[in-house]
Structure formats: C-alpha cells, structure tokens
C-alpha cells in the first residue's frame, strides 16, 4: 500500500472506482509509448488530420475572437445543423431546441446518459467485445454491467436470442454500438429489428452509439435501431465527429433523445462540463456543411485498406472475417497456438508491430487481436509482411 506523507490515499479512493480494473489497453500502451521503431496498428483513430476546411473554420473562429462559453446545450446553429444531418443519416428528426445536446465527445454523452437513468443495481446490457469504456461507465454510474458476448462464428453480430436470455426485471438499458470498435462488425437488419422489438416488449431504454455509422463498406446502407417502430421514444442516439470527420482530438459529440432524457443529461452536463468547447463547435459546424464531401474520400480509402488487410491476414492463415464497417479488423490468432495477448506481446517484441490484444475489449475477444487499418498504406504492407513472417514461425 502506498503511503504519502502519512496519509493512505489508496484507502481514500471510492469503493466504486477501486472495483474497476485498470484498462488492459493501458498496460500495452506503456510498452509501446516512446518507441520510435514500431509500426502501430494499435490506434483507434483516423490517420489523416481533420480536413483542411474544418481546421480553417476553427482558425477563423479564433481570429474573430469566438472564445466564450456557449449555451449548455451547444450552439443553436450547430444543433440545427446536427438535426438536419441526423434526419438525413438516420431518417429520424429531432427538435434542435429540446432534443439535442452537444457534448465533449460521445464518451461524455455515454457517461451522462448512464448517470441520468441508472439507479444502483439497475442492469445494463451491452455487447462484448466492445469499446473499453462501456463496462466501467456503467459501474461508475452504479449500474450493473451485463455483457452479452458476440462470436466470430456470427461475424460478431449481436443475437437477439442472446440478449433476451439476459433480460431480468432489473434490466433498464441496452447499449449498442454498430459498426463496432474493436470488431468492425455490422448488425444485420433482421437481428436489429428483433432487438428493437425486445426493447419495446421489455420497456428498455436503448443507447445507440453511432460513431462509426458513416464508415460502412461494400455499398451497405446503415440502419440505426432508432428507426424501428417504438424506438425513437426510448432511444438515446449518440454520435460525434471523431471518426467520420477525423476529429478525435476536438472531443465533440452529441446526444439526440426525447426532451425528458436530454433535460436529465443536461443537468449533469451543465455542472461537469458547462458546455463543449466553442472552438470545436465552430469546427463541427463546418464539418456538417461539408458532410459527405469530407467523409467519402476517407471512407473509400479505408475500404480499400480493409480489402488489402483482410486478404493478407486470411492468406497468412489467421481467421479474419470481413468486417462491414469502422476501421478495425479482429482476426482470431488461435491457429498460432498463442492467445491474443501473447500474440500481441510477442509480435511487438519480435517484429516491432503493435496490435491490441482482443482481451482488452472483453473476454470474448481473448483469441483475437485488434488491428486498425487507418494507417498509411505503405506501413500496412510492411506490417502485413512482418505479421506473415511471425505467423509462419508460430503456426502449427
């Protein structure tokens, strides 16, 4: 136990927080940080900077001296633009005055959404492997995280039957994220429809994290769960600018939901954040003006890189399904006789290539590693060559 100047700070930490294990991704991060010889497929963000017109809009806004607070909900002009964008992207309309809240990334939106609805002991269903913050955010909001595993054999889609099995009288929320980080999985429409029906039948609230919804491949059309009958009134749609517009560092997201929920989330947001940074809001306004024009070149390039990486991984003998979205592949590495974790550590040691152990995203990813292909094409070639040599050495 660490003691500092006579006070045991460790014991002063909240029980709730101490119950949360250190993120698996952090251990790995420490190994890689500071090394310059590593080709990293370990990131969770685009490789290109934010498109120039968006950056320029932010510069102009600074020049004009727009450095103040904004309305707690976010700039009204931005909320109007978001409303228009969401209507097009998700065929669902929200009132910019009462049903949209601009947040500091989807991470904040998710956190305050959980805090707004959960009572101690309320259960939240979410699918695993998933983004690292779901479980801890639920725990920190005094909820009980109930993970629903998704499997490679189902292309990591969430099965309604698996959801239904885990619904109890304490279940209050279902949280989903498709396309998914870390698997790149896309939810088939039929399954999504069944899950929507479950939400209605069991009177659940649904949080749908749509952060990768623009990054969809093979000419697929995105469907959000909010579009199914009976869902709009029970859904918090979470979205942001990080992935599609390459704006991770701007930390800007938003939540769309019925007024009661937005009002509840606002109560927390106004005290912990006051408002999202105005600079990021001004940039986001420009991003929405650009829309498809900003997204499409990046989307197309990701799709081509996915094609390349999936082909190479399967050719080298790893079992990698072809993910329909996001910018990750999630190959099963068990043919090497290694766990995902050992694979990642040894690959880093022997080939200086960083991938993230699948276990960081939940136990159903133990045999997998996450590779992000939002990396320069020439580096992807080198990374695949290195992985191939590595796999050849270990493969039984």
């Amino acid at each position: 136990m660490s003691k500092e100047r006579g006070i045991d700070l460790e014991s002063k930490l909240s029980d709730q927080l101490r119950g949360i294990p250190r993120s698996g991704i952090r251990d790995f991060f420490e190994l890689v940080i500071g090394r310059t010889d590593v080709i990293s497929l370990g990131v969770g963000e685009p490789d290109k900077p934010t498109p120039w017109p968006i950056r320029e809009a932010a510069i102009r806004s600074l020049e004009k001296g727009q450095t103040s607070y904004t309305s707690n909900l976010g700039l009204e002009s931005l909320r109007i633009a978001i409303s228009g964008y969401v209507e097009k992207q998700f065929r669902t309309s929200y009132d910019p005055k009462k049903e949209i809240l601009v947040t500091v990334g989807v991470s904040e939106a998710l956190d305050i959404a959980f805090r707004a609805v959960l009572n101690p002991g309320d259960e939240v269903l979410y699918h695993q492997p998933c983004y690292v913050s779901y479980g801890p955010s639920i725990t920190m909001a005094y909820g009980v995280p109930v993970a629903v595993p998704t499997m490679l054999k189902d292309n990591f889609a969430l099965l309604a039957s698996e959801v239904e099995k885990r619904i109890t009288p304490k279940t209050k929320v279902l949280a989903i994220n498709f396309p998914t980080n870390p698997t790149g999985a896309v939810e088939p429409r039929e399954e999504l429809e069944k899950i929507a029906a479950l939400c209605v039948k069991h009177d659940l609230i649904c949080f749908t994290d749509e952060i990768y919804s623009e990054l969809l491949y093979d000419n697929a059309q995105h469907t959000s769960i909010v579009e199914f009958p009976g869902m709009r009134e029970r859904t918090v749609l979470l979205h942001g600018f990080s992935k599609a517009f390459a704006m991770t560092g701007w930390r800007l997201g938003y939540a769309c939901a019925p007024p009661v929920l937005i009002e509840a989330m606002m109560k927390i947001h106004q005290y912990c954040m006051l408002c999202a940074p105005i600079l990021s809001q001004m940039a986001a306004l420009e991003a929405l003006k650009m829309g498809h024009e900003a997204i499409e070149p990046m989307r197309q390039s990701y799709e081509e890189r996915r094609n390349f990486v999936v082909k190479r991984l399967n050719e080298m003998g790893l079992n990698c399904f072809n993910p329909g979205g996001a910018f990750y592949v999630f190959p099963d590495v068990s043919s090497t006789g290694l766990s995902g974790r050992d694979f990642a550590f040894k690959l880093l040691e022997e080939q200086c290539i960083a991938v993230v152990p699948g276990s960081a995203f939940g136990p159903s990813g133990d045999n997998c590693v996450r590779c992000c292909y939002a990396t320069a094409p020439d580096l992807l070639v080198k990374a695949m060559d290195g992985m191939e040599a590595f796999v050849r050495k270990y493969k039984k």
């Binding site: 790995f28 940080i33 370990g42 963000e45 490789d47 094609n307 390349f308 960083a354 094409p377």
Partner: protein, 159 residues
C-alpha cells in the same frame, strides 16, 4: 479518373498484388490494365517526388509567362510544342487570361534561366513578351506538402 489511376498517382510503387487486394480484384487484372494504360498513353511515365531543398545543391526554377502571336491555322500549338522541346523546360501550358503560355524552366543558375529567356525564348519571332518569376520556396508540389514537420503526434495505442 479511374480509381486504379488515382491510387497509382498517390504512390506508383504499390505492387499489382497490393493494388488488386485494395481494389478487390485480381493481380492479373491490375497488371493487364496498367499495361493497357501505358500502351494507350494514359500513363506516360512514373517519377519521384523529391524535396529539392533537402536533396542537396539545387538549381533554380522559374515560371515564365509568355505572350505570343497566334499563327493562322495552327493557333498556339506549333509554337508551344517548339518551346516544350527545350530540355530545361519542365512544363509548358496554354493558359487563359493575361498571357498565353506558362513555361516552367529548371536550370542550374539564375544566369542560365536568363540566358534561356534572352537567347531562346525572346528570339522566337512570335514571342511578344516574357515575364520571369523565380520560385523562392516550395510548400507543396504535385499534391505533396513539403516540410510539414512531424506528423507522428498520434498516440501509438488508443482505445
């Protein structure tokens, strides 16, 4: 422009196998298409984008605005093609606006450019005037930003 060409313009060193994987087609198909594009003169060649400031002793580059009298029948073409023949001319374009040809010239020294203008360009009977602009610094060339500093600010691992 077809996607294969766009990808080659980004980086001509990608192997047909890599290009095929990215485009979801076969290596043989990509190789055949490249040959076709080369034969039909769509692809004229491949070159390397060099940061000349870093590459060591560099010459000078000038953009010369040239006004010429168009010829009956041939217009500007015959004269433009003649000017383009000079080895030191790296680019030659017919322009709309205040002048007719934009001629990009590379030479060892400022003096060499001056001599080219005085002895070669100006002496062509149809040339009415020239205005020579020397390039001082390159910020972007052929779509590639020069000297952008370190781009590797990304964390190597992020969730």
């Amino acid at each position: 422009m077809e996607r294969l060409l766009e990808l080659l313009c980004e980086n001509a060193r990608q192997s047909p196998a890599e290009l095929a994987a990215r485009l979801g087609t076969s290596e043989a198909e990509v190789s055949a298409r490249i040959v076709e594009l080369e034969k039909s003169g769509v692809i004229l060649g491949y070159n390397t984008i060099v940061d000349r400031e870093k590459a060591g002793p560099r010459g000078v580059t000038a953009l010369i605005e040239v006004r010429i009298t168009p010829e009956t029948g041939g217009g500007f073409d015959r004269m433009a093609r003649r000017i383009a023949q000079y080895e030191q001319v790296r680019g030659c374009y017919l322009m709309s606006g205040a002048y007719d040809l934009a001629v990009v010239v590379e030479a060892e020294t400022l003096y060499d450019v001056a001599r080219f203008v005085a002895e070669k360009l100006s002496t062509l009977g149809v040339v009415l005037s020239t205005a020579t602009h020397f390039q001082l610094r390159v910020y972007k060339h052929d779509g590639v930003l020069h000297d952008t500093g370190t781009q590797e600010d990304r964390l190597p691992i992020s969730p």
